[in-house]
């Protein structure tokens, strides 16, 4: 999907942004957006992701650095000349126009004649299955329908780039999931480049070709979803994407990409040395809950602990177990319902095991 080798469609070059002249909301951002890709900017609120999007759309000016669109700096190009479609958080459908007038708006301001504009707008509405609602007012549509209209409006003038600022935030869970798939399909069919901002990690993982995780004005990691989940580069990403267990300790003997970590309880585990640390460095080891094996018999994994069940919560297709492991009472394990080989009643003692490949020694979390 991502066309490697070509120039990127968009390039952020050393971009900084401050609103008050004291704090940088975006700190030295370098980012290439490839033609045709679906890139998600993911991060907690205040992490700078929306500011990046607004700078790209032209509503905010970078304090420092350049934004290049097809190799041209666009810092001084006003929004209406950028040819970038934007879908806003609350859709921003014009309430005094009908649905079809809304969708035809970008065409009529481009001086297309009314009949052609209407025809093309109807086609765009058909694409989002809303052709029959053309003459209604936006206020008469449901949230999901308004969302589709906004999407049709941002796509109808065939922009090279479409930006979406948390567009699904106002929808309920089921509708949101449905829209995620729908937007993904539209992206695949049209081949348009999309940049999507969200704070919802599920959304980011479901839809994207690549995800850029923002925190504190910096891109923490930018990878395809699976990479991001399986191989987080630092503790923030490991904790922000999905769920993770964190065991704090000190690096022991280092052996290339592998090393030993001595935990606070004195126990030693074997892990992947992701931080590239040396003996004696502090580290936080991250282990995904679904990679933890629970068993009444001592398993043959590299890392095995004795543990006590604190609480078990049934979730239908899986079971979540809170455990006391190596002196930490917030250790969680996730077991598929058909794959339980231990007594999970609270107070029960059992063994937990996980392989070295699933343990990643990351930067220490300072608490």
């Amino acid at each position: 999907m991502v066309e490697v080798g070509l120039d990127p469609l968009v390039r952020f070059k050393d971009v900084q942004k401050t609103y008050d002249g004291e704090h940088l909301v975006v700190k030295k951002l370098n980012l290439d957006i490839q033609r045709g890709e679906f890139l998600t900017l993911l991060g907690p609120s205040g992490s700078g992701k929306s500011t990046c999007l607004m700078m790209l759309a032209g509503f905010e000016t970078p304090t420092h650095g350049d934004i290049l669109l097809q190799g041209q700096a666009i810092n001084n190009v006003p929004p209406h000349k950028r040819d970038i479609g934007v879908v806003f958080q609350n859709y921003a459908l014009f309430p005094h126009m009908s649905v079809v007038e809304n969708v035809a708006f970008p065409l009529t301001v481009r001086k297309m004649n009314k009949t052609d504009a209407k025809k093309q707008a109807i086609r765009a509405l058909d694409m989002v299955q809303l052709g029959e609602f053309a003459e209604r007012r936006p206020g008469q549509l449901s949230g999901g329908q308004q969302q589709r209209v906004a999407l049709a409006r941002a796509l109808v003038f065939e922009p090279q780039l479409v930006l979406m600022d948390e567009p699904l935030g106002a929808l309920d869970k089921k509708l949101r999931e449905q829209m995620q798939i729908e937007i993904k399909h539209i992206h695949e069919n049209l081949g348009v480049t999309m940049v999507f901002v969200t704070h919802d990690q599920d959304e980011a993982l479901t839809m994207s070709d690549r995800v850029a995780v923002f925190n504190d004005g910096i891109i923490q990691q930018i990878e395809p979803p699976a990479e991001l989940y399986e191989r987080p580069a630092n503790s923030f990403v490991a904790n922000f994407i999905g769920e993770t267990n964190t065991l704090c300790g000190e690096l022991g003997q280092v052996n290339g990409t592998e090393c030993a970590v001595t935990l606070a309880s004195g126990q030693e585990i074997r892990v992947q040395n992701i931080i590239n640390g040396k003996t004696g460095d502090r580290t936080s080891v991250s282990i995904r809950p679904e990679r933890v094996q629970l068993s009444d018999q001592k398993p043959e994994d590299q890392n095995v602990f004795e543990a006590t069940v604190i609480e078990t919560i049934y979730h239908g297709n899986h079971v979540r177990v809170s455990l006391d492991v190596a002196g930490q009472s917030d250790f969680r394990a996730m077991v598929r319902s058909g794959n339980i080989h231990a007594d999970l009643n609270p107070g029960h003692k059992l063994f937990v095991g996980f392989s070295q490949d699933d343990c990643r020694a990351l930067d220490p979390i300072t608490t």
């Binding site: 759309a57 032209g58 509503f59 006003p78 929004p79 209406h80 950028r82 040819d83 970038i84 479609g85 934007v86 806003f88 958080q89 609350n90 921003a92 014009f94 309430p95 005094h96 708006f105 970008p106 301001v109 481009r110 409006r153 941002a154 003038f157």
Partner: protein
């Protein structure tokens, strides 16, 4: 209700049956009765207040515009006899007889002048004719007065038009004042006709009132729109200060504000001397007691009424609309005209109609600042109510204003429909 629920453990839609035969609706009404009384008691003071000092006086005023008691009350027999007269031929002997008797009686009770004044509204000279005839008949005391007696008392009675005037004024209700307010009257042939050009003033003044109100409304909207926009779109610190300035006039008495304009606008006032000092004009502008002064003072007065509804509407328009329009390729000016402006229409409508209605009824400002050519309907209403004591005409002119206002308001309501403005 608890009793009812014990009887219906079933899940059917049928209303639960209870032993007593009182229908559920009656019970509901009973249960709600206390609440209803309480609500009514809370509304009562305001309701009575409005009824007493607003609704009833206005109703009485409207009634005055068609009420015509003078002839019926003070010349009662004549009024009856006038009905029997066809109004074309010579007055009947019965009529002349009772008219003379009534006149003598009215002279003694000093009500003849009231009748004379009323008839004088219609045909000038009637006042002197009535009082003179009454005085003479009081002296001669004719028993069965005839036409000859009347002509002897005053030659003018020989003309049928004076008798016709009397007949026109003999009903207990009259369209006279209302027609007068539109520069029309019922002529001697009994037809509704325009009064001669030289006497027509009110339609002229009505259109002048509309014109002045229209100009100041349009100007207030033009000046108020950018201010409201700024108010709605700046930081709260700036907008609080601005809002304070906008509301400041409300805390000053209207009379004080108007008098201040008199001081500012006069020939050697602050405005003229500043303009001359700056070399913009060579000789002082005539603003006081002229149209420009009226416009200036009016606009100052009406600005807050325009700004506040506009602000309230603009505050609710998300900046995302403009951003969306621009991102879709619209130049900011195009986005403003096609996206922002249409959404402010409820505010423009509300502010405009408010300013216009206030302007057409304002009295003090044009009275103090305007010249004779700038007086509006309200001035003539006050004049007829206070000076000439022609309450009928004052009421009719008031009714014209009231009806105009109501028509405008109805049109406004139709146009905006349910999407009216939310104040505050």
């Amino acid at each position: 209700m608890e009793q009812a629920s014990t009887h219906t453990s079933s899940q059917s839609d049928v209303l639960p049956q209870v032993e007593d035969d009182i229908p559920l609706k009656v019970k509901l009404k009973r249960a709600e009765r206390m609440r209803k009384y309480r609500a009514m008691a809370l509304i009562a003071p305001l309701f009575l207040f409005i009824l007493g000092v607003f609704a009833i006086p206005i109703a009485i005023m409207m009634w005055r515009a068609i009420d015509n008691p003078e002839v019926v009350e003070y010349l009662p027999q004549t009024a009856i006899e006038l009905k029997n007269w066809d109004g074309q031929s010579e007055p009947t002997p019965e009529l002349t007889a009772v008219f003379a008797r009534d006149l003598v009686l009215a002279y003694k009770e000093k009500t003849a002048s009231t009748v004379g004044k009323r008839l004088n509204y219609d045909v000038s000279g009637m006042r002197s004719l009535i009082s003179r005839t009454a005085r003479k008949f009081n002296r001669t005391q004719p028993v069965q007065a005839t036409m000859d007696d009347f002509v002897k008392a005053d030659k003018r009675w020989a003309q049928l038009r004076y008798w016709k005037t009397l007949k026109r004024a003999s009903g207990s209700l009259t369209p006279f004042y209302v027609l007068n307010a539109f520069d029309m009257k019922i002529n001697d042939e009994g037809e509704i006709a325009s009064v001669p050009e030289s006497q027509a003033i009110y339609s002229n003044i009505f259109w002048r009132t509309m014109w002045i109100a229209g100009v100041v409304t349009a100007a207030s909207l033009l000046i108020g729109f950018p201010i409201a926009y700024l108010l709605a779109n700046t930081s709260s610190k700036v907008s609080n200060l601005l809002m304070f300035c906008v509301l400041l006039p409300f805390w000053t008495s209207l009379l004080v504000r108007t008098s201040a304009w008199v001081v500012l606008l006069q020939k050697n006032g602050v405005v003229n001397s500043s303009l001359m000092g700056l070399g913009i004009i060579d000789e002082p502008l005539t603003m006081l007691f002229a149209r420009p002064g009226v416009y200036i003072a009016f606009i100052h007065l009406l600005l807050p009424f325009v700004i506040l509804p506009l602000y309230s509407v603009m505050k609710s328009i998300s900046p995302a609309y403009m951003r969306a329009a621009e991102s879709l390729g619209a130049h900011p000016a195009v986005a403003f005209v096609r996206v922002y402006l249409p959404q402010t229409l409820p505010g423009i409508g509300a502010g405009g109609i408010l300013a216009f209605i206030l302007a057409i009824g304002y009295y003090i400002t044009p009275a103090l600042i305007g010249g004779p050519q700038d007086q509006m309907l309200s001035y003539f209403i006050a004049n007829h109510a206070n000076s000439t004591l022609n309450w009928g005409l004052a009421s009719a002119l008031g009714a014209v204003l009231l009806v105009t206002t109501m028509i405008l308001f109805t049109i406004y309501n139709r146009l905006t429909g349910a999407s009216g403005v939310k104040m505050g």
